[in-house]
C-alpha cells in the first residue's frame, strides 16, 4: 500500500475531489428512491431517506471544506464529476453497482452495501489495494486517482488514505516551517448554512479540524466501528438506519448490530412508483413531453452543480439559492416518475442525471483525463 500513498499536495487535492465525487454520487440514488415513494405510505422510510440524503449533502460540503482548507478549488462541473449510473463502488475484493432505481428491497440492499462498515479479514490485512480491470463504461468510485486499475478495499480505507496523506504532508510542511492549511478562511462553509439533523458544519483550518471532519463523514456512514451509534451516543449510522427498514424494527440504545429491539416500523415495499432503472435520455422515444421534462431536469441539475461550485469557491451565501432549487428538483422528479414510459410496459420515467457538460463525452475519455 505504501507506494500508493499520498505524497504530494496535488495528489491530496485529487483525492479530495474524488471524495466529493463519491459523496455526491450517493445523492441521486437516495434522492430518487426518496421521491419514488408514493404519497401516504412508508412514512418511516421517507424520514430515514430524507435524513440520510441531507447528511450526504453535509459530507459533500465537508469534503469541499477540506479541499478549500489546503488551497484547492472545488469543481463540481468537471466532466468526470457527475457519474453515469450504474456506477461501481468497492466492496472488498470485488465491486458492486449503484443504480438509479425506485425504493425497493433491491435498492435497500444496494444502500446497505454503500454504507457497510468494511473491515478486512485478517488474511488480507496490510495487503494493499485491490487490482481490478477498469470497465470501459462504468465510473468506478473509490478508485485510486493515479492508478486506474487499483481500488480501495472499502470507502473507509479510501478515507484512511486521505487521513494518512494529510498527516504526512502536514508533518512535512511542519518540518519546513509551513503548513498545508493555507486556504482562505472565508471560503469555508460554516454552520450558518447547514443545520438540523446530525452533524454540524465547522470550518476546517488545521490538522485537528480536518481529521475531525473526516471522522464525522465516516461515523455518520458506517458508524465508528465499535457500535451502532456515533460516539455522542445519539446518532445512528446510516448503515443501521437502512437496516432498520430491512428489519422492520427500530434500534434503541444498548442494541447489538443486526439485532434491533425498538418499536416496529412498517415498510410497504410496493409503495413506490415503478420507475425504469438507470434510464437514459436515449431510451425515451415517442413521448416528447417526457423527453423534454427529462432533459430539462438534467440541465437544471447541471446549473445546480455550477451554483454549488460558486458557493464552494468563496460565495457561501449562494447555498441559500440552492434551497428553492431542491424544491424544483422534487417537483421535476415527481413529474418524471409519475408518468408512464413508452415502450416499457408497467414502467415509469425517471431522472437520468446525465449532466449536459459531462454526458457529451464517453466514460473512457473521462477516465483518461483523470489519469493524465
Amino acid at each position: 500500500m505504501h507506494s500508493y500513498s499520498i505524497r504530494t499536495l496535488d495528489e491530496l487535492k485529487e483525492f479530495l475531489h474524488r471524495a466529493m465525487q463519491l459523496e455526491h454520487a450517493t445523492i441521486p440514488p437516495y434522492l430518487t428512491a426518496l421521491y419514488s415513494i408514493k404519497p401516504g405510505v412508508n412514512q418511516d422510510a421517507t424520514q430515514v431517506l430524507r435524513v440520510i440524503v441531507v447528511e450526504e449533502m453535509l459530507h459533500l460540503t465537508i469534503a469541499a471544506n477540506i479541499l478549500n482548507a489546503i488551497g484547492g478549488t472545488p469543481d463540481l462541473t468537471r466532466p468526470d464529476f457527475a457519474v453515469s449510473y450504474p456506477a461501481s463502488l468497492p466492496d472488498g475484493e470485488t465491486d458492486f453497482k449503484v443504480s438509479i432505481q425506485a425504493f425497493s428491497r433491491d435498492a435497500l440492499a444496494t444502500f446497505l452495501k454503500i454504507e457497510r462498515p468494511a473491515q478486512r479479514p485478517e488474511h488480507l490485512a496490510g495487503k494493499g489495494l485491490i487490482q481490478r480491470k477498469a470497465s470501459l463504461h462504468t465510473t468506478a468510485l473509490g478508485g485510486h486517482p493515479m492508478h486506474e486499475d487499483l481500488y480501495f478495499y472499502s470507502i473507509g480505507e479510501f478515507y484512511a488514505a486521505i487521513v494518512e496523506g494529510i498527516k504526512y504532508l502536514e508533518a512535512e510542511a511542519h518540518r519546513a516551517g509551513t503548513s498545508i492549511f493555507t486556504g482562505d478562511r472565508s471560503r469555508q462553509i460554516t454552520s450558518e448554512y447547514y443545520y438540523s439533523g446530525g452533524g454540524e458544519l465547522f470550518p476546517v483550518t488545521d490538522l485537528k479540524s480536518a481529521l475531525e471532519a473526516i471522522e464525522l463523514v465516516i461515523e455518520q456512514g458506517e458508524g465508528d466501528g465499535g457500535g451502532i451509534y456515533d460516539d455522542d451516543e445519539h446518532e445512528l449510522a446510516h448503515y443501521y438506519r437502512f437496516e432498520e427498514l430491512v428489519e422492520g424494527r427500530y434500534y434503541q440504545k444498548g442494541d447489538q448490530p443486526g439485532h434491533p429491539t425498538g418499536p416496529q416500523l412498517h415498510v410497504d415495499w410496493e409503495g413506490a412508483y415503478p420507475i425504469q432503472q438507470n434510464l437514459k435520455v436515449n431510451d425515451i422515444t415517442g413521448d416528447r413531453e417526457l423527453l423534454e421534462a427529462t432533459i430539462a431536469f438534467n440541465i437544471r441539475y447541471g446549473e445546480f452543480l455550477q451554483l454549488l461550485t460558486r458557493a464552494y469557491n468563496g460565495q457561501p451565501s449562494l447555498l441559500l439559492e440552492a434551497v428553492p432549487i431542491m424544491f424544483e428538483f422534487r417537483n421535476m422528479i415527481l413529474e418524471l416518475i409519475r408518468n408512464p414510459l413508452r415502450g416499457y410496459p408497467g414502467k415509469n420515467g425517471s431522472p437520468t442525471y446525465e449532466i449536459p457538460s459531462s454526458t457529451k463525452q464517453p466514460a473512457i475519455t473521462r477516465q483518461a483525463e483523470v489519469t493524465a
Binding site: 430515514v48 454552520s191 450558518e192 445519539h234 445512528l236
Partner: protein, 623 residues
Amino acid sequence: MLFPLEAALKADAKTVEASGDYDIVIVGAGISGAIIAQQAVEAGKRVLILEAGTGANSTLAGYDDLLTTFYSAASKDNQSPFPLNANAAMPRSPQLRKLQAGETDSSTYIVQSGPYVSDTTYTRIFGGTTMHWEAKTPRLLRSDFKTRTNFGQGLDWPLSFEEIEDDYRLAEREIGVSANVEDQQYLQQTFPDGYVFPMRGLPLSYLDQQVNKGIEGTNVELYGKTYPLKVRPYPQGRNSIPNPAYDGGKGYRPIGAVNTHQVEEGGRCQGNTNCVPLCPVQARYHSGKTLAKAFAANGKQGGRLVELLSQAVASRVDIDPESGKVRSLEVKVYKDPASPAHETITVKGKVFVLAAGAIETARLMLASGLRSTSGLVGRNLMDHAYLLNWALMPQICGTMRGTSSTGGIVDLRDGPFRERQAAFAIDIHNDGWGWATGAPTSDLLELVDDRNLHGADLRRGVIDRVSRQLLLAFMIEVMPVESNRITVDPQYTDALGNMRPILSFTVPEYTMKGAAYGRQFARTIFARLGAQDHTQYDPSDFGYVAYERQGYAIRGGNHLAGTHIMGTTKTNSVVDKNQRSWDHENLYLVGGGSMPTIGTANVTLTLAAMCFRSSRDILKTLH
C-alpha cells in the same frame, strides 16, 4: 437532539396518583408550561405535566399525522390539523354563526351570546397554541407597560420594561428568534450594546418590498403629529441563519424538534406559507422543542425528572380551607378521545402551575369556585381585534411566497394619539386574501364555475388573481374591560362533565375608534400603491360591528390575555408580578392571562419572558 422513547410514552394514571413527591405539577404543555418544566428540570426538580390532548404529536409520526389531516381538510382554518376530541374540545371558527343580540349559541365549545361573536381560538393539544401560532415575536414597547400613566387608558403593569428586559432575551433564546437588531430599533426600542438575536432576520418578501416601494418616504398625519410610513421586518420564531455573533460570539445552535428514533426535524424556514396552522418542516418554534430538552434531561440524571400524563383534563383545584394552599388537583383521565369514559384521579405536589391558556386557566379556577379576593378571575379578557383590508396590486407581487407574514407597517404602534384611540400594527399577509375570502380556493371556484376557464387560461387566471393579492391585517390594541369576561355555568358542560367557558365580549369603543381610523389608513395606502380596494364587510358576518354609521368585521387575534390579571395588591389583581396567586401561595397562574395590557405585540414572547421570571420564583419557594 434525541427525543427519548421512554419519555414520549404516556405516564400511567395510577402511578401518577400514587406518587406524592412531585415538586411541581403543571397543567398544560404549551410554551408556558414547557418553559417552567424545562427550568425546573435543569434545577433537578421533579415535574408532572398534565396534557388534555392525546399527546400523539409528541412524536414525529404523530406530528406528520397532523399535517396529513391538514392537507386533506376541506377547510384550512387554524385548527384544521387537530382532530376533533370532545374530551378536550377547542374553539373552531368554521362552526360559528351570526347571533342576534341576546341570542345564545351553545352548540360550539365556547358558549357565546350575540350580537358580537369572537372567532378567537386556542389549541388544546401537546404544544398548545404554539402548534398553530404564526410565530411573530415583537416585544411590548416601553410605553405599553404604563398605558394608564401615559395615556389614561387601560392599566399599568406592576413590572417595568426594564424589569422584564433580561427575560425577553431568555425568551428570544428559547424560541430562537430570527431578527436583526437594526430593524427593531423603531419607536425608541433599545437593545444593549452588542446584542444580536439568536438568528439573523428573515428577508422581507417580494410583496413586502413592492408595498414598501409604494409607501416609503410618505407620511400620515394623526392629531397633528406626522408618522413616516415604511415596511419593517417582523421578528420571527422560525429558523433562519444562526447568528455567529450571538452570545458574545459563541453563536446559536437551532433547537431540534419532536423526534422519533434518530429522525431529526427542525430545519430552516423554507417559505411553505402554511405557518398557520402547521409548519411542515418544524422550522417554526413550538413548545415541543423546549419539552424535548426537558425530557432529554431524564436520561442525564438517571431517574425520570419530568413525566407527561396525556389525556388528563384538570377538572378542579382543591384548596385547603385553613392555609389557603392548593391541596391537590382533581384530574379526569380518559382512555379514548372517542369515548367520554374516564377515571378521576387526585394529583398531589408542592407547587401547582396552571398554564392552560387565558381561557382554560380561568375556566378551571371558576369551575373550582375560585374567583379570588379581587373577584377578577375570568374578567378583563383581552384579544387583539383584527380588521382585514384587501386589495389587488396593479402588478404581479408573488403573493403566496414566503412565510405567512414577514413584514408590516408598525410605526403607529405608539404615539400621543393613544390617549384617544387604539394603536395598531399592520401585517402584510404573504398568503393573500385567504383569511378574508378563503382565497385561493374561492378564486379557483369563481374562475372555473363562473368563468368556465380551463387549461392554460385557468392557470393564467389564477396567477393573475392570486399573485396580485394584498391583505393588510390591522392588529388593533384592546384594553382591559372588566365586563369582557369568561364565566362558567353548570348548564353548559363538555363530554367529561367539565363546565365549558362562556365568553362575553364587546369590542371597546377605544378599539373601534382605532379600527375606523385603520380603515381610512388602508384606503390611503391602497391609493398610494395604485391597488384596487376589494374590502367589504358583510352585515351578516358573525363579527360585524357597527360604529359611527359604518360597519366592520372584527376578527379575533388568538392573543388571549387578562383573565387572571397581574397587579400590585390582592384587591386589584389575581396574581403578583411573579404570576403567583395572591390567595393561594403554592399556586401560579401563568400565561397571557396575567398580562394587564397587550399593546400591539403578539403575546407569546412576553408571556414566555414572564414564565422565566416565574420559574425563578417557584424554584426559590422550593428551596
